[in-house]
Symmetry: C2
Subunit: 554 residues, 2 copies
């Protein structure tokens, strides 16, 4: 279905009615007006707004933005944690036809300035705690006409060299609430995220209103949320539109909880609201769920989270993580897959009813580690290097290609990036994986992270998981590095659990791996490290690892 | 948002990717290939196809239709019960770009021929049991080039004057399964239903692929279905696209059960598959749920349907019906509202979490009788005769206006019907109702069914419900008929339960109504009848009632 569309018999439907994200919040305020948005503040207290109040603030924000000179098509950046003002920006900025540019607070100032300039950003909304980051780039970003400070404090209490500055709450207080929303073409950009790939400059994905609306419906359906649920926005809202849950939640009418600023050294305490707010659904990366689990493990009384579902993406959750959540709290980790380019939902892993009956517990846990089956609305195929589809046998690997209404069709103003798309419109994910007869996809590697050893492939991810299955290993990464004879050979980096330090040897790890891997695949080197280099999104940074160990086999 | 759309900043999304209903079944076959479609046959046995097999049959049907000469834009009628072939037609006909024309088997031959001719129908698929109906119109329908007989029998066993005829199963056997689906413009008509209003000729609503896809997502979300559910297709598939559940079910991946032909004199036995197939979700009208409840009432062992949700539309379910289902089986009747023109989902009645806490049981039951709050994606307003929105106070009545992607914007080739739409694109439902502060809508009457008595309005529906709350009354209808002094006055028609016959008087009914209605509103006449005249969709036929009793007050 990649050719030019052909028109059949005309319909009488209102097909000119435009999909628009603002309508989601309008709906939420209309049909779930008393539902709550809870946001944890800097001092630990919580702001509580109803949906109706949130919509009121969004209307004021929209009017205020117009007042300071923002308008149709302008790109407006946001530098913020997951809090209620970030959520308001999610609706207020696109509501007036401007573009919500989500800025990753973990980028280096150089990359951040690159993104701000590439998007020709007009205004930046910045949380008081992130002013230093904004200050670091302000001088390099000539298109930026002003900064709006997000704070509970008065403007006079804020010390900054940024100029000109506006005070978010004052703007809202002075704005009127009545608004006539523009009727936007649904293909207008709603917002943008830039990829944080490990190679090259960040690339811009500009999501249309149509894209966001259709994706949000899909998230709502696949996360199986109802208005009795309480959703906890763990995924940073600057990653892939916060995984679409800031929209899906308002379609469904759930109670919506935002963690606010958190300390990277104390991620565990992110677990506290699970109980205090009654969270039943969340989404995040294992990098967050792992420390939260440690926090829970140390509680005298384990929380009862029976029935809760935590969607997990970005990297594969370990078996231990999934089992321990379930055994300690009753919560289920639901593996899902996607990327910035896919808004992000592509696959979700639920055990199908018949497999629930047929599989043993061991087989079910094993299945839950796969990325899942494709959701409705998308075309997904796995192809070999000749672009031919591989058999759905759970063994034949290939690159995952994806097409559909919430998949990007290009990168904004990025010459040369056209090669990441096929002629019939699929996005090349760069992920290597398999599909089984039931449609479950298993990502094995990045295509470029497959280790090419003597003309054969070794899966670095398989080896990582197997290394992490060793009881002494807390975390492990595997990369292919140059080898004079075999082209590449794997090197294993392992972080040993404190209580096992000094008690485990490289030979122990290799012997452990030998149970699953052929002899020629085994690593020649296992390096014990204190931490594994990671990208800003918490993925292993293979580029850095390969650079650090490039000489190990030479 | 009714003006011409304006374009904002361009997005990079695949906005030219067309929404297409065929993709729903493709998805179902891919991600839920082993899920079941169960269809009850004429002899009571059941056919069981997997989703993958169903998709295989649909591909063969599409190829077969092309072979006999059907193609892009052709209207192809279906005269069938809810069975697996009807379901296959739901995907096979629109798949090739033809229009699925759903023919109401309860229409008079005159109305049916009108619809077939108005649509310029090229082929008709007809179930063997409905051949007499097809024969009754065949001579009057010159555009029809042939009939495809839906049967488990051989063609030689079918006696008919229809010509030319094709045998569905033979066509499928002879067709190949490989197919290249056309890439249809999403605004192409997927299918059509004709309204069965009580006034005027049937009017055609032609649903686009876009319309159907967006509506199906909404049904999936609002019915709160998961792949663990079993859906029972009670609503006739010739009504408003079967209420969108033949699409939503395949988005979600539920087990899907079709009742096949049923005897209008034995509707109760429709309850049997609830237990034998493990139904958890269904949708239908009180006219079906009522006899099913009687059937259940007579069972020695009541089925445990705890957690099951039965969406109920077309007319208001009585309090007794809802309570008895819940108390006898644990199943919940969920009131919903819509029309042929709205695909149909407009509102759904779920008790919001905070109301669940705040309301007493009596108040909750009372609330459940309302039609519910509007679903996401639609604009809904209630306006007085000056087109001004009425207050959301649960008291101020007005006409319900609806706009959105699954609302019709016109009637096909129906000059004069433009008055049923407002300038800013709302469809005038003709329903009178109120909205309360929580957004719950209560339909009180058809705008034209309000009884105008001495310059005031009396709600015929309120009076019907109150009459039916009398323990001796099984069913009751109220209509306004001409009165020399008061313009109109209400007349009550009541069907008395067998065990109460002869033991209740008109005065008893009026005394019962006096508890709720003002004296001037009380009916002057209560007529005991054996049955209430109904339309083909099971609604009270007020036109017939008014005609029968037009002289009662003269």
């Amino acid at each position: 279905m990649g050719s030019k569309p052909i028109m059949g018999f005309p319909a009488t439907s209102q097909d000119d009615y435009q999909l628009n994200v603002t309508r989601i919040l309008q709906h939420a305020a209309r049909s779930f007006g008393r539902q709550e948005v809870v946001s944890i503040k800097l001092d630990g207290s919580r702001s509580r707004f109803t949906y109706a109040q949130t919509y009121g603030r969004v209307k004021r924000l929209a009017n205020a933005l117009t007042t300071i000179g923002a308008g149709l098509g302008d790109r407006i950046g946001v530098l913020d944690w997951n809090d209620h003002r970030h959520l308001e920006a999610y609706y207020g900025i696109p509501g007036i036809g401007a573009v919500l540019l989500l800025l990753n607070i973990r980028l280096t100032p150089a990359d951040l300035a690159y993104v701000v300039n590439h998007a020709e950003t007009k205004f930046i909304l910045v949380d008081e705690t992130l002013i230093p980051l904004a200050e670091a780039i302000a001088g390099q970003c000539p298109t930026v006409k002003g900064f709006v400070i997000l704070t509970d404090k008065k403007l006079s209490e804020i010390n900054t060299k940024l100029s000109p500055i506006y005070h978010y709450e004052t703007l809202l207080n002075e704005a009127k609430e009545e608004i006539e929303w523009p009727n936007l073409d649904e293909r207008s950009a709603y917002g943008a995220c830039y990829t944080t790939g490990t190679t090259g400059r960040p690339k811009g994905v500009y999501y249309s209103h149509r894209n966001v609306c259709l994706h949000a419906m899909s998230i709502g359906t696949n996360a199986e949320m109802t208005s009795r649920d309480c959703y906890y926005q763990l995924v940073p809202m600057f990653h892939a539109l916060g995984w679409g849950t800031p929209h899906a939640a308002f379609i469904i009418g759930v109670k919506y909880v935002l963690p606010g600023m958190y300390n990277i050294m104390d991620l565990g305490s992110l677990a506290e609201p699970l109980v205090s707010e009654g969270v039943t659904v969340s989404a995040g990366a294992p990098a967050l769920f792992m420390p939260m689990l440690e926090y829970i493990r140390n509680l005298d009384k384990k929380p009862d989270l029976t029935g809760a579902r935590f969607l997990s993406g970005a990297s594969e959750p370990s078996l231990t993580l999934m089992k321990d959540y379930f055994n300690l709290t009753g919560a289920e980790i639901v593996h899902a897959y996607g990327a910035t380019e896919t808004t992000p939902l592509v696959t979700i892993n639920k055990i199908k009813p018949w497999l629930e009956k047929e599989l043993s517990d061991v087989e079910k846990w094993d299945l839950k580690r796969k990325q899942g089956y494709p959701v409705v609305g998308l075309d997904v195929k796995i192809v070999d290097h000749t672009e031919k589809e591989v058999p759905h046998d759970g063994k034949s690997p290939g690159e995952i290609l994806i097409r559909g209404p919430w998949i990007t069709g290009s990168y904004y103003n990025a010459p040369g990036s056209e090669t990441q798309f096929t002629k019939d419109g699929y996005w090349r994910s760069g992920d290597a994986g398999t599909m089984d007869a039931e449609g479950y996809i298993k990502i094995t590697d990045r295509v470029k992270d497959l280790i090419k050893s003597g003309g054969e492939w070794i899966s670095s991810v398989d080896m990582e998981n197997e290394t992490m299955a060793h009881p002494a290993v807390m975390e492990a990464a595997v990369a292919g590095v140059a080898h004079p004879k075999w082209e590449e050979r794997p090197v294993v980096l392992a972080v040993i659990r404190p209580e096992h330090k000094g008690k485990v040897t490289k030979e122990d790890i290799v012997a452990h791996l030998a149970k699953k891997f052929a002899k020629w695949q085994l690593p020649d080197e296992v390096v014990f490290v204190d931490a594994i280099p990671k990208t800003s999104v918490g993925k292993f940074d293979k580029k850095v690892i390969r650079a650090q160990y490039k000489d190990i086999y030479l």
